[in-house]
């Protein structure tokens, strides 16, 4: 466990020192931006952007089981929205719908960039990262990272060149020729994230990407994700079990109800960015955490009672 995190911080440091694309370079423009907009009001509200994704009355049942029930949610361009909820609350079903893998029940409204769409039209439009890294064992790091680009039809050489440039940022320099079975859990996860990032789509869906990592590696990965997100400005929907993670990362947190899932609480997170690790002890953070935990506690009890375990 500690070995892995040490290895991680070492190559994290390598990334920092490796020049133009290092994280130190990434942080500077972000700070400048934060100073320029001291109101902590995200840019999109001012410019009045239309939502990237709008879900109205989205339900999904599998036989007698109702996974989602009239779920409503809106995601604006450039936002990082986190989703928390008790286990089995239909979070993954929501993601499968947004990734275009499953159709919601009839009667829903799903608008993508303001246009009414069927879920299947979202196939190939959204970059999706499932819970497990699902790296292909016969492909090395670089070839796993370019999988989506290859499927898009980009020539391999070009895709590899593009991915090679991104390696330092993902703390994977020097590992391009390694195979997944030679990597630690944290590194595998970063390869999977890199694959997701290289598939350049407006919406990124991350399904508990750090769930299987130890606590130390996880906090490192969270900070790193924020850096990368602030640089690339993608819209991110991030599922997690961890309330701290949800607050630390998110512009907004959606708390889902126990099954059938819908949005129980939508909490705006006004903590200033860039967020430092010690923000988790600030009174604002603790206050938000209490609100969210209360809501989740109520739902967890419900799902605990109904599932009868």
């Amino acid at each position: 466990m500690t070995d892995m995190s040490i290895a991680w911080s070492e190559d994290y440091a390598c990334g920092l020192n490796s020049g133009a694309r290092g994280l130190a370079g990434l942080l500077r423009p972000v700070k400048a931006e934060a100073l320029a907009a001291p109101a902590a009001e995200p840019a999109w509200t001012a410019s009045g952007d239309r939502p990237l994704i709008e879900l109205r009355k989205v339900s999904k049942s599998f036989g007698p089981v109702i996974a989602l029930d009239n779920l409503e949610a809106t995601i604006l361009p450039g936002e990082l929205v986190t989703v928390v909820g008790p286990s089995g609350c239909g979070k993954s079903t929501l993601f499968n719908i947004l990734a275009g893998l499953e159709e919601p029940d009839p009667g829903n409204i799903l608008r993508f960039r303001g246009k009414s769409s069927a879920a299947s039209e979202l196939l190939g439009q959204v970059s999706f990262m499932p819970q497990r890294d699902l790296l292909l064992p016969w492909r090395n790091v670089i070839d796993n990272a370019i999988l989506a680009l290859e499927i898009e039809g980009m020539p391999r050489a070009q895709a590899r060149a593009e991915a090679l440039k991104m390696l330092p940022e993902f703390g994977l320099s020097g590992f391009e020729a390694q195979y997944p079975n030679q990597l630690s859990g944290g590194m595998r996860q970063r390869v999977a994230l890199m694959r997701t990032f290289l598939f350049k789509r407006d919406l990124m869906l991350l399904d508990e990407p750090f769930g299987a990592l130890d606590a130390l590696t996880r906090t490192m990965m969270q900070r790193w994700l924020l850096d990368v997100w602030q640089k690339h400005r993608r819209t991110v929907l991030f599922i997690t079990h961890d309330v701290d993670e949800a607050i630390f990362l998110g512009d907004r947190v959606l708390v889902m109800t126990a099954r059938p899932g819908k949005v129980k609480l939508e909490q705006k997170i006004d903590l200033p960015r860039p967020r430092k690790a010690d923000i988790v002890t600030s009174p604002e953070f603790v206050g938000l955490k209490k609100t969210l935990l209360d809501a989740i506690e109520e739902e967890s009890m419900k799902s605990f009672m109904t599932s009868g375990h």
């Binding site: 893998l101 499932p130 699902l134 292909l136 499927i151 898009e152 598939f199």
Partner: protein
């Protein structure tokens, strides 16, 4: 890592030769010690002498058999893999094809040899077809099993990148199935030589099976053994080549 694998390979091959040598020594000593008649068991030295004396004839027969086995093998692999891919792409055909395949495969394929000889004559074609049938069933069943191993979530992931059915097959299903496909191909190597020889014994113009059959008629047991040893050498080489390819390219297993 690869040098470690190479040296352990070398050690394994060394042990194999040591075992063969030990067997030959015990064989030679017991034939001499118990004074066994040739028709029961000829001595290793007399078999080796026979192999040298009949070298030309055995080499020609070996080439004949190897050509049949290899052609049938390649044909069988292609047919087996193609059929498995077809069945997995059109799931509705699956249960029909699988039950027929299992039924045919439940009897040793050589049981069909007399019929195939009747239909296709005693030339090379009948042997090639028999080998192809034997190999294609084994490869078909292992390929189907391999293609089934693909994880639903991986398919979903690749689909979310916009992959169609062909891209899923090419980039995900076939590579996932590859370890089992090769395992089926490895087992089939030995099978292909056996089937070729057995079919030759039932009627042929040449080949090791034909040599064995003729030698039995002439009560020349030294030659029977010589042909058997050549046949097992071919089998082992064939098996070794495919095992080598397997180890070299299926490194992630």
């Amino acid at each position: 890592m690869s040098t470690v694998a190479a040296s352990s390979n070398a050690r394994r091959i060394g042990r194999g030769f040591a075992g063969a040598f030990l067997l030959a020594a015990i064989w030679e000593l017991s034939v001499r010690g118990f004074n066994l008649p040739t028709y029961v068991l000829p001595s290793v030295s007399s078999i080796l002498a026979g192999m040298v004396a009949d070298a030309g004839k055995l080499a020609a027969a070996a080439r004949f058999t190897a050509a049949e086995a290899l052609t049938g093998y390649l044909l069988g692999c292609v047919i087996g893999i193609a059929a498995a891919v077809g069945v997995s792409m059109v799931p509705r055909t699956r249960s029909a094809v699988m039950s027929v395949a299992t039924a045919i495969n439940s009897v040793p394929v050589v049981a069909y040899s007399p019929l195939v000889l009747l239909w296709l004559g005693i030339g090379m074609t009948s042997k090639i077809v028999m080998v192809a049938v034997a190999v294609s069933f084994t490869v078909f069943l292992s390929t189907v099993a391999g293609l089934d191993r693909v994880d639903r979530k991986s398919i979903d992931l690749v689909r979310s990148f916009g992959a169609g059915r062909m891209a899923v097959l090419w980039r995900l299903r076939l590579p996932t199935a590859l370890p089992l496909i090769i395992a089926g191909m490895r087992v089939s190597t030995v099978r292909s030589v056996i089937v070729a020889i057995v079919t030759e014994m039932l009627g042929a113009y040449g080949g090791l099976g034909w040599v064995i059959y003729q030698a039995v008629l002439q009560i020349d047991f030294v030659q029977v053994w010589a042909a058997i040893i050549v046949a097992s050498a071919i089998s082992l080489c064939f098996f070794g080549v495919i095992s080598f390819i397997e180890q070299r390219y299926i490194f992630w297993r």
